[in-house]
């Protein structure tokens, strides 16, 4: 079979896992990795799930591997930090059934809070890393990763970046081949990581990495299940004046800008093939290391005494391009027109977003919010400007607690923590336990919009639906909070601004932990239908600007100071109407 399809990088990764015979996949959504699980679930032969967080997902995959089947976890780069604990030790246990973590980096930070390089973590964890350059390779390398995992008894990481994950390219499909389940054999020395066993496994881990580095010199080629051989590391000798060592998406920029240069394209970016690199370096006049983010390859190459040009010419920040090579390496004058100076267009909360309603009240009450990760991070943007801090998943509650312990309970009387329902289930719940246990008095607002919003609407343990869409009992956030012994847990409709204001005032004043759950589903969910839309009544308008305070993108100020409401954007949530003191906005049927 040689059917060809245009596939998103993430879709190709899912296809590769399917063809490799993966049986278990667990993940927490995170841009740019989310579509892997969303595509893998389309193959009913594979068990797929959303886990509450990446640590759980990784542990599920490790367990499945120990039981003898091929298993995977996928996550974004910062999710890999959460999964680091099981990963560092899974490196010692190795893999019975093939074990692969797909980790998506985000150079340029399109949708992330930092720009960390997964290869650095993998070096520290002594886990090998594959890096594909396009959708076809994403599929091929996923299959290779499972093969290598079993061959070398190691977990593998497939590293992608936003550009690969969200680019589409042509992919040749192949059939699914499921290896036979490995019989379970009790092996305490390998699978129970306590000091006596781990000391011996560490020796194995060090040797394994050396063995893999050696094997990487001789261009590992996959045999079964592929329509063609897949070279792991590939030398493309052309003109020897300029040579590039590169991998992943940057390889495509090299091919675009310098199709005649010599290239060592690395598929396995950790561990590195020393002999192969030395040999390649000796054949070219000038050697460039072209890698996005950190100088991971460059530092090792330099440590071997090989002269090269790397980060002194190319940035450690953001995405690379072919033009970068044309300018820096080829010294071409690109004579590009100067970009126009234009107002920025930052992302913002959607029209009808329930978070906007909550933030409008917090803004009015001049309350600061310790923020968290999700759409509602956008509450930091003017005109709402409510969110003062954002660190990582779950940190809103714990950082607020830290402020209180540092400065006392009066200090946080005009503070709340805000966290979404999915993020609360991810790691917020631990932070809340800590606040209760250590006698904090913080007010936590759980912005419950019944979904994981920012990543495009994924279910979680509190929505009552699985990744497969199966209806299951939802974990009730109200009862979960109550079960911790929190006396004051209040549920409020997120659009009831009067009630919201009253409850927030009461709870921040209280000398005890309290939780406010603001409930209203994400405005983009299919089942959300407001019956009306909002229209201005200009003759009643006093031009006070109250309706503009929430920063709804459907509203614009006219030159005479009255307002217009874009009928195609307005979804009829009624927030602006309820804020208007002069009834100058009314709701009419859609």
């Amino acid at each position: 079979m040689s059917e060809k399809k245009v596939m998103l990088g993430n879709e190709a990764i899912a296809r590769g896992a399917y063809e490799a015979g993966v049986k278990v996949s667990s993940a927490y959504p995170g841009t740019p990795s989310t579509e892997i699980s969303e595509n893998l679930v389309k193959y009913p032969e594979v068990y797929c799930e959303w886990a509450p967080n990446e640590k759980v997902a990784m542990e599920v995959a490790v367990g499945a591997s120990i039981s003898g089947v091929r298993a995977m976890a996928s996550m974004k780069h910062v999710g890999f930090n959460v999964a680091a604990d099981p990963m560092y030790t899974a490196a010692y246990i190795g893999a019975t059934g093939g074990l692969v973590a797909v980790v998506a980096d985000d150079p340029g930070m399109y949708s992330s809070q930092n720009e960390q390089d997964t290869r650095q973590i993998c070096r520290a964890a002594q886990v090998p890393v594959l890096e594909p350059s396009d959708s076809q390779e994403a599929k091929d390398f996923m299959k290779l990763a499972f093969d290598l995992s079993e061959q070398f008894d190691t977990p593998m990481v497939l590293r992608t970046t936003t550009r690969l994950a969200h680019s589409q390219g042509v992919v040749a499909l192949e059939d699914r081949v499921v290896p036979e389940d490995k019989p379970y054999e009790r092996n305490i020395a390998k699978n129970v990581m306590m000091p006596g066993n781990a000391i011996k496994r560490h020796v194995f881990v060090e040797q394994r990495l050396k063995d893999m580095a050696e094997a990487a010199n001789t261009l590992v080629v996959a045999k079964e299940g592929f329509s063609k051989d897949v070279p792991l590391n590939r030398v493309e000798m052309n003109d020897t004046k300029i040579g590039f060592i590169t991998s992943g998406i940057p390889y495509t920029y090299v091919k675009e800008a310098c199709p005649n240069a010599s290239v060592l394209k690395l598929g396995l970016v950790h561990p590195l093939p020393k002999k192969l690199i030395e040999e390649f370096a000796s054949k070219v006049d000038t050697l460039y290391i072209f890698e996005e983010l950190e100088p991971v390859i460059e530092e090792q190459v330099r440590a071997w005494g090989i002269d090269c040009i790397g980060k002194e010419a190319f940035t450690v920040q953001g995405e690379y391009s072919a033009n970068m090579i044309r300018k820096v390496v080829l010294k071409e004058d690109l004579s590009i027109n100067t970009p126009a100076k234009v107002p920025a267009r930052p992302p913002l909360l959607c029209p009808g977003c329930p978070h906007r309603s909550v933030y409008t009240v917090l803004n009015k009450l001049k309350i600061h919010a310790a923020g968290d990760i999700g759409c509602y991070t956008l509450g930091a943007v003017a005109p709402l400007s409510v969110v003062d801090t954002t660190i990582c998943m779950g940190a809103s509650i714990s950082s607020l607690h830290g402020m209180e312990m540092a400065k006392g309970k009066e200090y946080i009387k005009n503070w709340v923590a805000v966290i979404g329902d999915s993020t609360f289930m991810h790691t917020g719940v631990n932070s809340l336990m800590n606040m209760v246990y250590n006698q904090g008095t913080g007010t936590v607002i759980i912005l419950d919009n019944s979904t994981t919003g920012m990543t495009g609407h994924q279910d979680h343990a509190a929505t009552g639906k699985t990744l497969q869409g199966k209806v299951v009992p939802a974990i009730n956030i109200y009862h979960l909070c109550k079960s911790m012994g929190i006396e004051h847990v209040t549920e409020v409709n997120a659009f009831d601004i009067k009630e919201l204001e009253k409850v927030i005032k009461e709870e921040v004043a209280r000398d005890a932990v309290s939780v406010i759950i603001t409930k209203s589903p994400c405005a983009l969910l299919k089942e959300v239908h407001f019956p009306n839309k909002c229209v201005p009544v200009p003759e009643k308008c006093k031009k006070c600007g109250m309706c503009l305070k929430p920063g709804c993108p459907a509203l614009t100020k006219n030159e005479d100071g009255t307002i217009s409401i874009d009928a195609t954007m307005c979804n009829g949530c009624g927030l602006c109407k309820n804020l208007c003191p002069f009834d100058a906005i009314e709701e009419v049927a859609k």
């Binding site: 245009v6 841009t31 740019p32 989310t34 579509e35 399109y110 949708s111 396009d134 550009r163 969200h166 680019s167 589409q168 390219g169 042509v170 998406i249 495509t252 920029y253 091919k255 675009e256 199709p259 391009s321 072919a322 033009n323 690109l334 004579s335 590009i336 027109n337 100067t338 970009p339 126009a340 234009v342 107002p343 920025a344 267009r345 930052p346 992302p347 913002l348 909360l349 959607c350 759409c375 956008l378 943007v381 003017a382 005109p383 920012m454 990543t455 495009g456 503009l548 920063g551 993108p553 509203l555 614009t556 100020k557 195609t568 954007m569």
Partner: protein, 190 residues
């Protein structure tokens, strides 16, 4: 076709540029070219500036269109046309949907929405502008404005009218095929 063709679609998150890139991807595959597309998901989709790159030819290496290289730039909004115009190669076609969507920076008074964008861009670039919302209203369906814009852009690409109509029929919901094809033709014959 030796040269790789570079198309860009820019607009505001939520304008539905992804449908346009899907139709474009479809027609390129039908013609048997190698193709790479690159788009933005996540944070930037929430009302932010969005850009999709489409490249096709015998063999495509990188998935992005770089500054100074676009053959056709399709802008669904005036300010976004201005933001990305320098991506055009000399002689490239700049198709602009004559619509204004104020970014929050303008709404809050931090920045001003530039005046005379289309006139200014016309001094440097080959501009083809269309008030697609008004044209769509004439057809009785404001939501098909995307395909009117695509119709204008299609005049600067080498696919036949029949192939375009065919791909539109395969891509849009069955009930909306006719109106979407009509919308495309309005732009195509402009």
């Amino acid at each position: 076709m030796a040269e790789t063709k570079n198309i860009m679609i820019v607009g505001v998150g939520g304008q539905g540029t992804l449908l346009t890139s899907r139709i474009l991807g479809g027609i390129i595959l039908t013609a048997g070219y190698d193709v790479k597309l690159s788009e933005v998901h996540g944070m930037a989709q929430r009302g932010g500036s969005v850009v999709t790159f489409v490249r096709y030819g015998e063999k495509v290496a990188e998935p992005i269109v770089e500054e100074g290289q676009a053959d056709v730039l399709i802008a669904f909004e005036r300010l976004e046309a201005l933001r990305y115009a320098h991506f055009l190669k000399p002689g490239g076609a700049l198709v602009i949907n004559d619509q204004r969507i104020d970014p929050i920076t303008v709404v809050t008074g931090v920045a001003q929405y530039p005046e005379n964008i289309i006139e200014d861009l016309s001094k440097t670039y080959k501009v083809y502008s269309v008030d697609a919302a008004a044209e769509a209203l004439k057809l009785g369906n404001s939501r098909v404005f995307n395909n009117i814009v695509l119709g204008v852009a299609a005049q600067h690409m080498d696919f036949s009218k029949e192939d375009w109509l065919d791909v539109i029929a395969k891509t849009v919901p069955p009930k909306t095929i006719e109106i979407n094809q009509k919308a495309f033709l309005v732009g195509y014959e402009m």
